[in-house]
């Protein structure tokens, strides 16, 4: 059995990592650290896990060696202690943004400070299997993915790979997101009477996930926008691009199948009728699926591509476990079989 420990597991992504790995047949959870909750049972922070395990949080000071160490720390902390963590386990998965961008200059532009250990950046593989499977499989270090970036990347990838997009025209991508993206820290903005029922222009321009989108798609003129909606889990990317030349629905099917035909976690949702004819994030809660689709406006050549995910799963913990399966030679879907709930 693979011995896996999680550092900084009191947050929502940590809770999902624990839930998934408790259900993973080849993994034994060894230590779960949280400085704030050391000594407490896991269900003190993750009430859904009551009775699922009698493991307790420990301090990172007493971390013992293991096979895979997953870091779920706030931004910046993983990079600071990367050398120590690298002694603990041969494989590291970092769910934070610290090692996502290979280009130090880009990192500095978006995060406003030079990267603390740039030499490590090239050792980390970007943890989105759908675009980086071989490097993840062979690597020892995998970075997490940005949830908004992942929704936009997976929505646009088929068109970009098939060369259908007019890359000289601007692409606008608006992601509607749930409140769990903000993590479990209560703020004025997350206070229920203020947050409930909003359609809040959280980041109309300039969201730092843009860097990841540029890196993955190799496109510069992509303009990201984030709007918070009435949802806890879930993200829906609505991307507005323009086709280079007229194209038919069947050609777009071919492009989506070419990119996603064999992907275990991407489902193509493009139907003529029915409430769920386009991707819907709420029914993906808890699953590792990314549902993708599109709608073509033949008059204007605008193609709207869509991707729905659970920001805590395909946008974080689910992709991390998918990468663990790849790195450790397990079948990619192991421990990730939950199909999501309907109705929910």
């Amino acid at each position: 059995m693979l011995r896996v420990s999680i550092v900084g597991a009191s947050g929502y992504v940590g809770g999902e990592l624990i839930r998934l790995l408790l259900g993973h047949p080849q993994v034994r959870l060894h230590q779960i650290t949280s400085e704030r909750l050391a000594g407490q049972y896991l269900h003190s922070a993750h009430p859904n896990l009551r009775g699922a395990t009698d493991l307790r949080f420990t301090s990172v000071q007493v971390l013992e060696s293991c096979d895979v160490l997953i870091l779920a720390l706030p931004h910046g902390q993983a990079a600071q202690k990367i050398e120590t963590f690298a002694q603990i386990a041969p494989h590291l998965i970092d769910a934070s943004a610290d090692f996502r961008l290979a280009d130090t200059a880009v990192y500095e532009r978006w995060y406003g400070a030079p990267h603390p250990c740039p030499e490590w950046l090239t050792r980390f593989a970007y943890g989105l299997p759908e675009v980086n499977r071989e490097r993840i499989r062979e690597g020892r270090y995998v970075s997490g993915v940005g949830c908004n970036a992942t929704a936009v990347n997976l929505a646009l990838l088929p068109l970009v790979q098939a060369g259908l997009v007019d890359t000289h025209r601007d692409i606008v991508a608006e992601v509607k997101v749930g409140s769990s993206e903000g993590g479990n820290e209560a703020t004025e903005a997350s206070h229920h009477p203020e947050r409930s029922g909003v359609v809040r222009s959280f980041a109309p321009t300039g969201h730092r996930h843009t860097a990841e989108v540029n890196a993955v798609l190799g496109l510069e003129n992509i303009h990201l926008s984030i709007t918070s909606v009435e949802l806890v889990r879930g993200a829906l990317a609505t991307c507005h691009a323009f086709v280079r030349e007229p194209v038919t629905d069947r050609e777009i099917w071919r492009a989506f199948r070419a990119t996603y035909g064999n992907e275990p976690f991407v489902r193509i949702v493009h139907e003529k009728r029915g409430m769920y004819r386009h991707p819907e994030p709420k029914i993906l809660a808890g699953s590792n699926f990314a549902d993708v689709g599109w709608s073509l406006d033949e008059q204007t050549g605008r193609i709207v591509t869509l991707c729905a995910i659970d920001n805590l799963m395909k946008g974080a913990a689910g992709s991390a476990v998918q990468c663990l399966n790849l790195m450790c030679g397990f079948e990619e879907r192991t421990g990730l079989g939950f199909t999501g709930l309907h109705p929910i």
Binding site: D249, R250, W253, R254, R257, I268, H270, E271, K272, R273, G274, M275, R277
Partner: protein
């Protein structure tokens, strides 16, 4: 291999297929009508356009 007229997905047919039977496409949900059994030919069944009314 007979494919869906909307999305090109390969179609699966039940063993006891009959003329005029409506076959749904697994990928795009289009409804295909069996026009002839041999050679096997399908056509798009007239689908009622449903509006969410949102």
């Amino acid at each position: 291999m007979t494919t869906c007229l909307e999305c090109d997905a390969p179609l699966t047919f039940p063993p006891d297929l009959i003329d005029g039977e409506i076959i749904p496409c697994a990928d795009c949900g289009a409804e295909l009508e069996v026009l002839s059994l041999s050679p096997l030919q399908v056509g798009l069944a007239p689908a009622v356009q449903e509006d969410w009314g949102e």
